[in-house]
Amino acid sequence: MEALRPAKNRDEANDPSSLVLRFGPDKPLRLDAGIQLSPFQIAYQTYGTLNEARSNAILVCHALTGDQHVANPNPVTGKPGWWEVLIGPGKIIDTDRFFVICSNVVGGCLGSTGPASINPATGKPYGLDLPVITIRDMVRAQVMLVDHFGIDRLFCVMGGSMGGMQVLEWAASYPERVFSALPIATGPRHSSQNIAFHEVGRQAVMADPDWRGGKYIEAGVRPKKGLAVARMAAHITYLSEAALHRKFGRNLQDREALTFGFDADFQIESYLRHQGMTFVDRFDANSYLYMTRAMDYFDLAADHGGLLAEAFRGIQTRFCVVSFTSDWLFPTEESRSIVHALNAAGAPVSFVEIETDRGHDAFLLDEPELFAAIRGFIASAARARGFEPA
């Protein structure tokens, strides 16, 4: 009967409408914070069929506020999956051919253990009692999921932004388990400016009186205003000045003249407010703190003695690194530093910089040049892996 409940009222954080893999006390998740998280669970979705050799699996890693619903309607918003333009039957990532896995990251809020999950020790939501989660922790959890399927080696690990960080971490930590890697619009570390933006978002959340020191779920409230402001600020960083101006200019919102007040006179204001408001309906505020922190802590070179090339020493994984010209959150230089490190390590790597004015979010959009690059890369990797041509 439970599955019939309207998705709207469902507690997706604890009882997700997706598939769930639960790990008992015998299989704790080792966290970088020095704690063994147990029990814990991973919510995930799969598409397509795993072949007999278990060699056709593609792991898709989601970004900051993404989830496991990559290629099916989102149970919370009802909108198409966040990468449905790319993934599905007959699409570029063809689920008639590949077995696609996408899991909610640990620390998330759509069914994998996160701050909104019930802490078995207290019977209450973790809130800030959950240790800080890192990108490496997320990947460790994904490894346990991949092990569950008996997959030794993933055909491809792909993702954009925070998902791209996970791709890099996979390749660096488990090179022999990644045949090909596709990190998009990402970097080997979070820059000072990016940490700064995240801090603005976190402070906005924590400044909301309804945040209640992170214990808002028990209090029956939610820091909607703070989280909305955080999302508004972040959303600007996902676009570009050119795209904003093209889309909104200085156009007024449903009015003929300025009102000499602080209502949303401009379309861009109205747009941002809408972005903020719809976000709070689908995302947990504490999870936003954890996700942003995980990105801030990411520094792959620092994990390898300060030299990024060391992270990839001896790696055989085939790489395709993609950046966008107008992405100022993860500028092309970040991708180039990955490419230079891979080159120095002798890894087979391609690098494409896509010309677009759509900013960081371009990786989620219908970008023909991006799709052409992905199609070519996947096809050549499939040939190299000995798959029949599509």
């Binding site: 085939r318 395709c320 180039r336 490419v339 230079h340 080159n343 120095a344 002798g346 087979p348 790597v349 391609s350 690098f351 494409v352 910089e353 896509i354 010309e355 040049e369 052409a372 690059a373 199609r375 070519g376 890369f377 096809a379 050549s380 040939r383 190299a384």
Partner: protein
């Protein structure tokens, strides 16, 4: 970076200089024609650098490993002796600093193969001599103001540059307009006059 892809008549000659299973970096690889040829015929481990997005996408679609980049700025990131051969085909004259690029090629590769259009060809000389105009020929179709080829040189000039950076010329070949080799043991002045293209095999 490959600005004269239509004229890469030198590909066969370049490919002939590379032994099977070599590790090759093609700087200015265009749409990946040479790399694909080498990969299919000689099973080389090939990589490319290309400035245009179209070229890079074409290469990736062909299953080649190519990095979008600029020979002038990106070669510095490649480690010493990372490749058996570094190829610079029809690209030297379009770089901002050919001398530095050549030095990088010799540092990155055990050997470097450089091909370029010869500005000493008699047609070029004749155009300047008789018409008093910068030459526009089948091989060099651009006007002076819109040409990507900003550092033309003659075969003799290039030989001098090789001496200057301490590169040893292992082999040199002049080609006519159809990519055919011009007599093997002819003197430099002859090649410099009749060669439309030159292909050099160099080492440190």
């Amino acid at each position: 970076m490959s600005v004269n892809t239509a004229q890469r008549v030198d590909l066969e000659v370049v490919a002939d200089l590379i032994p099977p299973r070599a590790k090759v970096l093609d700087v200015g690889c265009g749409d990946g024609e040479l790399l694909e040829l080498l990969q299919n015929d000689k099973q080389v481990d090939g990589r490319g650098v290309e400035i245009s997005q179209r070229g890079v996408n074409e290469c990736v679609a062909r299953g080649l490993f190519v990095i979008q980049g600029d020979a002038d700025t990106d070669l510095g990131f490649y480690p010493d002796k990372g490749f058996d051969f570094v190829v610079l085909s029809q690209t030297l004259q379009a770089t901002r600093n050919p001398r530095e690029v050549l030095k990088h090629l010799l540092r990155i590769g055990e050997r470097a193969i450089v091909s370029f259009p010869n500005f000493g060809h008699w047609r070029v000389r004749l155009s300047l001599l008789l018409r008093g105009r910068m030459p526009v020929t089948k091989d060099l179709p651009y006007s002076w103001y819109d040409t990507p080829n900003i550092h033309f040189c003659t075969i003799r000039d290039f030989v001098n540059l090789c001496e200057e950076v301490g590169a040893k010329v292992e082999r040199a070949t002049a080609l006519d307009g159809n990519g055919k080799k011009i007599g093997v043991s002819l003197p430099w002045w002859f090649w410099n006059f009749f060669g439309q293209q030159a292909v050099f095999l160099l080492r440190r």
